[in-house]
Symmetry: C2
DNA sequence: TCTTCAGTTGCGAAAATCCGCAACTCGCTC
DNA sequence: GAGCGAGTTGCGGATTTTCGCAACTGAAGA
């Protein structure tokens, strides 16, 4: 058995386990966006964002392509949105109320 | 904003981002189990398993309780199963066929 | 009580992540 | 073709994870 299945799953989840990467995915839910935009909304160094995008790209979670002078990013598959939604649901179930995050969560759903 | 929401989400995903922890959760999908059983099926040192269980416990993903001489573990919420299922789906979408994992995946669904 | 079995915790070393700085590549425009 | 704006890559250093060993706690039996 090459690369056990449960290890592949673990890598998939670990790929999402970073604040910047989560934000990127949430932004991409609304459709493709140029790095430019992501950078404007996320407040992180350009090189840092680029590295996080590379992680997502290597995992196949997002895809990138050029459009004129800009580089665009998009979700690799719409299923990603489902995963994020499932994550939100668990968070709701898990933090009964650790310091008010619940409110924010509800507002976003 | 205390602990931004996207950071909480990232931590949630990172919690699942470990082969042993994934296996534990998959085993717990079928109902509560004693550490004893998990240890028998996972092939990892007892202390290591205990540490991974602690990670899941701290995140609220699983809960533990004693039953006689044994310590039992169970999913903190059934929603966890949904998350795992969503992960499986993405994996299917993402690895078009990186070395045959797809077959295993299909068999398990 | 003294053991023993079931798990957990502490600790330290090895490995992996994270992140800023600097250098580089690639289109585009002048 | 020189310069520029948009991103990426390389490189360390700091931080975080991971994991085995050894010591410890707690319940149940002898």
């Amino acid at each position: 058995m090459s690369v056990p299945l449960y290890q592949a799953k673990a890598e998939m989840f670990r790929t999402l386990g970073h604040p910047v990467r989560i934000r990127v995915l949430e932004l991409l839910q609304d459709g493709p966006r140029p790095v430019r935009d992501l950078l404007a909304e996320i407040d992180v160094e350009a090189s840092n964002l680029s590295q996080q995008l590379a992680v997502l790209r290597r995992a196949g979670v997002v895809a990138s392509f050029r459009e004129g002078a800009l580089v665009m990013y998009a979700l690799g598959t719409p299923d990603v949105a489902d995963l994020l939604a499932a994550g939100r649901r668990i968070l709701g179930a898990v933090l009964t109320d650790r310091d008010g995050l619940l409110v924010e969560l509800r507002a976003q759903e």
